[in-house]
């Protein structure tokens, strides 16, 4: 009798479990895997959408006569980047590590077996990584806008997604030497933004400034001239799209929706962006007497770039401070590159992504707090301001500088090779008439009356 009872109880329990838990074969762990996959995919979609944001920002901040060209550059660096990262980049970034320097397998998504949960995870992870790689690639087009030969740009696109970016990614995210040192770059202030920014810097240097950007004063001194963007509302839309996409970029970098620190990350991301916009506006207001719209928009991006590394390990208050600094920094950096170094970066990509990316990376070493880091699963780390000493800051600095060195050298070599072979810059006449007509045989705004002499 007892036995019957027991058996009955057990069976009942099992039946119960079966009915309630395994309807549709779902289990708690399959559900949590589904939540993670759904989250990572949706985040990847948002990051993809940032391509539209970059295209609009860059088109809006440059002249109408080059708008088709900018659009094509953005479309093509994403397209070429997607295929290149699928074929080679992903393997170099996440494949089995060779001496902590680069990965060596997993090309062509070979680890993506569709019949296993793990394989599907790999496939989703690839998409998330691919849109990141494309982000790094596309940043560069802004710094090189309005004068780069289209075929040269296509060549560049492939190289950055196959080589320059994945190697850095391997170092910091793929199990390479910097990750072993404990560097924290949660969503890629360095991996993505600095890489794009520094590559853009090299591109801008090798290209030289646009015609008419710097003119010689009577005293032989170079004077910087403004070349205003042609569509500020479009650029603003781009910034809003980027901000929106960043909610995939940063919180998505948990690659897990069951890691609830996605909430904190979303909040730090938003606060830093808001703070960056405000501080850039006031900095510009003080320096130039007017609250410049393009600088304020850049400020929001600066805050976003700066919070990208520390988003998961800092408090909301620290995020506000990081954003405020980022916003100030970007205005000073734009001035510095333009008026002191005379490097022509039409949309401020170097300042936004390079400089603020580096700052954000260091900010981890300053503002990290253990209670946030632990919640996000990043361990018990504290930055300088929270009693953790200078060790983390040192590692972060080492990482930021190593990446600067790697990207500068490889990008410089690459651009010089392209210059000698395919050619990197269009002729003066092509530049004056506009790349749209010269490179693509079409106009961006057919029918509109536009003063084309600038």
């Amino acid at each position: 009798m007892r036995r019957v009872l027991i058996t009955t109880a057990a069976v009942l329990i099992l039946v119960f479990l079966t009915t309630n838990l395994f309807a549709d074969d779902a289990t708690t762990s399959s559900n949590s895997r589904a939540i993670d996959t759904v989250w990572m995919l949706l985040a990847a979609f948002l990051v993809f959408f940032m391509q539209a944001g970059f295209a609009m920002v860059e088109a809006g901040f440059t002249r109408a006569k080059n708008a088709c060209n900018i659009i094509m550059k953005n479309l093509m660096d994403f397209s070429i980047g997607s295929l290149a990262y699928w074929a080679l980049g992903f393997g170099i970034m996440f494949g089995a590590s060779k001496a902590g320097l680069f990965g060596s397998d997993g090309f062509f998504l070979s680890a993506g077996d569709p019949s296993t949960g793990d394989g599907l995870w790999q496939i989703a992870f690839w998409l998330f990584q691919a849109v990141f790689a494309a982000t790094a690639a596309t940043i560069v087009s802004g710094a090189m806008a309005e004068r780069t030969k289209f075929s040269g740009y296509l060549a560049y696109s492939a190289v950055i997604t196959i080589l320059i970016y994945p190697v850095v990614g391997h170092w910091i995210w793929g199990g390479g030497w910097l990750s072993k040192l404990g560097m924290i770059d949660f969503a890629g202030s360095t991996v993505v933004h600095s890489v794009g920014g520094w590559a853009g810097l090299m591109g801008a240097i090798v290209l030289g400034p646009r015609v008419g950007k710097y003119i010689d004063n009577n005293g032989g001194k170079k004077i910087s001239k403004a070349i205003p963007g042609h569509n500020i509302p479009l650029a603003a839309l781009g910034v809003f799209i980027l901000w929106f996409g960043w909610f995939g970029f940063n919180p998505g970098s948990t690659t897990s929706g069951t890691n609830l620190s996605i909430a904190t990350i979303a909040v730090t991301t938003n606060l830093a962006a808001a703070a960056g916009a405000i501080s850039a506006m006031f900095t510009a207001w003080i320096r130039y007497k007017k609250p410049d719209a393009s600088m304020s928009l850049n400020g929001a991006l600066a805050g976003l770039v700066a919070i990208t590394a520390p988003c998961a390990v800092v408090s909301p208050l620290s995020a506000v401070i990081i954003g405020l600094i980022g916003g100030i920094l970007v205005v000073l950096a734009v001035d510095f590159f333009d008026k002191i170094l005379h490097i022509d970066d039409p949309v401020g990509a170097v300042s936004v992504h390079g400089v603020c990316g580096m700052f954000g990376t260091l900010a981890v070493g300053l503002f990290a707090e253990s209670r946030y880091a632990q919640a996000a699963g990043l361990g018990d780390v504290n930055g300088l301001f929270f009693g953790g000493g200078a060790k983390l800051l040192g590692v972060q600095a080492l990482g930021a500088i190593s990446v600067l060195a790697w990207v500068s050298v490889t990008a410089l070599i690459m651009f010089l090779i392209i210059k000698k072979t395919i050619g990197l810059r269009v002729s003066r006449e092509e530049e004056l008439r506009g790349l749209d007509i010269e490179e693509h045989g079409m106009e961006a705004y057919s029918g509109f009356q536009i003063f084309t002499n600038q």
Binding site: K225, A226, P228, G229, D292, M295, V334, G348, Q449
Partner: protein
């Protein structure tokens, strides 16, 4: 017949039109123009860098009139456009040899009004 060309401040177009209407001059042509005159460009900047705005936005009026309408037209333009500040604009007067209304083929004084 005369062809009167006037450059005025864009924001004065409506006032000038009112004055012309009052003077019973209803026909005119308007184009956008950019002008360099005594007026210094306002201070414009972009991302903290100055823009040399020495070409200011202007409105260009073109009005063909019979001789006896020349003075009223000029007066109306001046009345509508003058603020006393640099940048108010300028009027040019050319001889008009002939004028033809396309619809009817009328010419001369007939056609102008």
């Amino acid at each position: 017949m005369k062809l009167i060309i006037a450059y005025i401040q864009p924001e004065k177009l409506n006032d000038v039109k009112q004055e012309l209407y009052k003077a019973e001059i209803y026909k005119m042509s308007v184009t956008n123009a950019m002008g360099c005159g005594q007026q210094k460009g306002y201070h414009e900047s972009y991302r903290g860098v100055d823009i040399e705005v020495n070409l200011l936005k202007k409105i260009r009026l073109e009005i063909a009139v019979n001789e006896d309408f020349v003075a009223p037209t000029i007066n109306a333009i001046i009345k509508g456009a003058r603020t006393g500040e640099i940048g108010d604009g300028k009027i040019f007067i050319l001889d008009l040899v002939e004028c033809i209304r396309i619809r009817t083929g009328e010419t001369g004084n007939e056609a102008i009004g």
